[in-house]
Symmetry: C2
Subunit: 712 residues, 2 copies
Amino acid sequence: MHPSLLQDSVRGCPKEIPHNEKLLSLKYESLDYDNSENQLFLEEERRMSFLGFKCLEISRWVICGLIGFLTGLIACCIDIAVENLAGVKYYVVKQNIEKFTEVGGLSISLILWAVLNSAFVMVGAVIVAFFEPGAAGSGIPQIKCYLNGVKIPRVVRLKTLVVKVCGVICSVAGGLAVGKEGPMIHSGAVVAAGVSQGRSTSLKKDFKIFEYFRRDTEKRDFVSAGAAAGVSAAFGAPVGGVLFSLEEGASFWNQMLTWRIFFASMISTFTLNFFLSIYNNKPGDLSSPGLINFGRFESDVSVCLLLSSPKPCVISLSTVCLVLNPVFNILNYWLTLFRIRYVHRPCLQVMEAMLVAPLGPDQSEDYPLQLFCADGEYNSMATAFFNTPERSVRSLFHNPPGSYNPLTLSLFTLTYFFLACWTYGLTVSAGVFIPSLLIGAAWGRLFGILLAVWAVPGKYALMGAAAQLGGIVRMTLSLTVIMVEATGNVTYGLPIMLVLLTAKIVGDYFVEGLYDIHIKLQSVPFLHLEAPATSHWLTAREVMGAPVTCFNRIEKVGTIVDVLSNTSTNHNGFPVVMPVAICGLILRSQLIVLLKHKVFVELARSRLTQRKLQLKDFRDAYPRFPPIQSIHVSQDERECMMDLTEFMNPTPYTVPQETSLPRVFKLFRALGLRHLVVVDSENRVVGLVTRKDLARYHLGKHGLEEMQLAQT
Amino acid sequence: MHPSLLQDSVRGCPKEIPHNEKLLSLKYESLDYDNSENQLFLEEERRMSFLGFKCLEISRWVICGLIGFLTGLIACCIDIAVENLAGVKYYVVKQNIEKFTEVGGLSISLILWAVLNSAFVMVGAVIVAFFEPGAAGSGIPQIKCYLNGVKIPRVVRLKTLVVKVCGVICSVAGGLAVGKEGPMIHSGAVVAAGVSQGRSTSLKKDFKIFEYFRRDTEKRDFVSAGAAAGVSAAFGAPVGGVLFSLEEGASFWNQMLTWRIFFASMISTFTLNFFLSIYNNKPGDLSSPGLINFGRFESDVSVCLLLSSPKPCVISLSTVCLVLNPVFNILNYWLTLFRIRYVHRPCLQVMEAMLVAPLGPDQSEDYPLQLFCADGEYNSMATAFFNTPERSVRSLFHNPPGSYNPLTLSLFTLTYFFLACWTYGLTVSAGVFIPSLLIGAAWGRLFGILLAVWAVPGKYALMGAAAQLGGIVRMTLSLTVIMVEATGNVTYGLPIMLVLLTAKIVGDYFVEGLYDIHIKLQSVPFLHLEAPATSHWLTAREVMGAPVTCFNRIEKVGTIVDVLSNTSTNHNGFPVVMPVAICGLILRSQLIVLLKHKVFVELARSRLTQRKLQLKDFRDAYPRFPPIQSIHVSQDERECMMDLTEFMNPTPYTVPQETSLPRVFKLFRALGLRHLVVVDSENRVVGLVTRKDLARYHLGKHGLEEMQLAQT
């Protein structure tokens, strides 16, 4: 039996997964980027006039505008909420200090501080751990998987969005070493998935609009726009957002789609910028887009110096790349493994989060930093520790030489490094961008100071930040553009690119990127961009699953129900044959809808007036098709026949058995397929290639390796 | 017989083409983006170790670096040559004025001026018209076609590059209303095509390196990098360059490739910047990347004003969009038609170019503008007319309010408008970017002055420039990014995007973009991004060419020679059948090499030691395979048999006959195919879909229209 991708019938808690990076889980479904061009679909498309298509195109633009607007609004809300909550916290602590310091009770204030932080973090951890574990972390690995074509359960639900937004507000206000930028990408994606469908399954509300877009192909397009809008809102980098979506979604390039993604990104940046300017009482001042802003770097000769005096740069960078990045990723890897094994109960997770909370460096926003200093004095340690991470990054970039004590800075870097490493993976919703930037900036500035060759150590800080971030997340093109857009200076492009490239090459030698580590630990069948270089040895015959369960074009209902109910195989796609040659492909979801509406040949004959099944019925059931167990089929009905002709995809893509793996891979990836039928020279079905058959092969240290498949 | 794409055996002079936009020429070959995975190829790939693939990857990076470097260098040479030639011209004229003005001979100076201009233009026109007509124009339409997958004859040859560079220097120095930016894109592409092949067919020099890259797939990847490097050098916009390549090359997105393209772009900008800074005696000052620089726009409240006071903007923009752009494109369309019919002889072409030359506004570079004014006086007309276009654009953007007299400005705009329109399409190598920007900027500033609502009319100028350029070339995403990068301010992104979008929507209503007009007039089978919306009615059965000439796996040499020699069909791809089911696909070029090396079954038996044909033999013949007529096959040899098994692609992509046109289109476009075999349910060949079968259908005013096919 062919172990096609399992439906997510067992909503696996993380603990059930045998976490091992040599395994590939079968519990993840693939998204279907290839339209099932069955008769119903073709009839609908043929009925539609040219004007109809124009209207669809316009709705797509409207939806993208809405996605951008809502994503920008959410970013704005998060920003304002964090600022106000932190404000309340500071106010309480300050009151307390003023009240107690005279009687020598500074320790009371410190305890109060820790208690407040823990309280915030607890709230954040509780909602994530108990209500929606899918909202943990930055959400970027999940969105990467979704754009790659893997359906991660519950990742684009409304509940996830709500928990994510509240969670990130709590964890940032609670002073964890986290950023609010990563979760924006996830939020944007959820907004897109919701808006584009014109209904909310969670709220049981159907607006009866955008029904045409209720399928994987369209939804995925919008989700990529949402992710881009999220990046754009977070970093004020609309082009970076587009490139992020392309880098992750990749291969399904479409000019109109890209243009819409860009539109969503632009609207999102603009919305955030506009509302924040109103909030800050400077309406119309759009000069600081994004949640984070690096401040303006003036282009000067120093950039050239960076390139002409490579020695110190190389030392500084290679230290960061060689030591800090792999250490960060490896530490986090062990920590994640530990968590998966021992910290899988929600209460334990909440407790761990609360354990980290009081350790965190804290944020002050607009509140004075001289908490424990005499008036006018300045504590550089306090600046580094008690500022918001965003501000600290900016200070490290732009403060004049001599602002920082090297000892303080190194202490800060080390502490923050371990804190950030511990924090990423906690059961709170939080991003890793800002902590990485901060560590890198501190490290870079430290080197700038120690080497003392450069007038402006802030530039070292920028390069260090790029190296650290690039080494941890291993994004390349999009990250360069994001950083260039955030610095607002194109001249920095080349050095940033070279730094990111070095960081990636060096980092890849030791360990994978942080997101890839987390994706691997979840055993997700992630498809990389190309087949492994040395896989020309393999052909479709070796990689395909065989034998395949096929249906006849007119099939007995009992057979269909039995096949669908067979939990040991749990296939999702079934070739249709007549009599032996392939004539179509039908999906489990389609069969479920057919069974639910009892589209049987005998019934159609007896009740001639019966309403014909329409595409609408499939769309209404999308995306949560009921399991086969919930559909009752009587013993009489089991003897009926079902005619699949109208509903199957009559022209599935096929390949001969001799096709090499890279060729199969290219076809699969370029068209976003879910099932690829392998046929012999007479067009008889001999096998079926699915995502997991391709994701199984990867390049290890000793050439091509094959991963094991696991049912969970 | 199936009219597959004709080989370019008749190197058609432009006059031979029945220029009609309802025709599709069959004289253009397709590029093959799909590797022919025959046994030779697979054997080579399987022999290659992991290290071998790494080396290949490194060579790709080295080549991209080289492409960037050389493109930057060429841009630098063009810039310096233009400056010096113009300098000599001004010096001569100035000498003359000083000598003759006293005796009242100003007219003599004017004549001298005109003669000098004409001389420059004549040289430029002569080399283009007589030596390499392919170097005419900006070259962007040709590169668009190449990236789209159409092989335009002679477009990436060394000779074209040399003529292009000299031509653009002459035409810019000769004071035509042209820019030197467009030709840079073409130049970059030629550099890429040359460098990546490791040899020059024109110079008969083979460096014996990069032999692996001698096929369409790889070459096209490098050409896209070259085009991006060209954009990057021209506008100092590396990200814009990448997006240009993606927008045009599209659908073959590959992350590593994109990253390499970005690398080439960065290197190119940096090289240009670096060498120009040395030339300008400010080594290391990298603040002005690109051949054109818009000057820094500070972000201020005005951007918000633009968005909050849409009325004047809308008036200004809609005027530009509604009146100027379509008029420009339509006028140029008529002019081009006229030229194709009546000005097709090289001497006539040169004469036309010389006719325009003395009319042109001129350039002064660093020479004083007060030619005819008293010391200290300032002639705004002279500024507009006698400045370099690049400088004029910058002045229009940045000069303080009140610098321009509205009457002068409107006169200038009108004159320049018609001049630019006349100039584009002359037989000189020249770009349309800068003239469009200039017209738009002047127009926008004029409106800014007349409406007088805005403190800074320079912003109107920027928006006008965007609208004009966008309306003429209809690029969207990449143009936004290019303009944002050139202004160096992300805040302008949203308004520029909205303006470009409006210009495109309005413009598309009237007439196509300038480049598309020129592509259509050449009857190029250009594939757009998606199949026409209402084409679900059509299936592969209707669009395919049938019947198809097939070969047996072991075929008689005589049959092959006869088929290849048949000039009335001139097919390029032949399915191989055994006995009736398809078992492979072989290309004309492969058969030619086989015939040339006499790979016959009988000979192989008799001479067992004969060297086996290798991939190298195919690569050596690439890309100029000899015509069949040049291969002598004796009467005895005609009776021999040829075994195609090893050389054919054993796994060509196939589709069933019922596949809808959009589905065929998607497969074709996503994989960059050249031939797609249509089979019946028993895998028998029933038809062949090629580029022209898909390009034939387009959406007209009255729904789906079909173009005629023409043999020339």
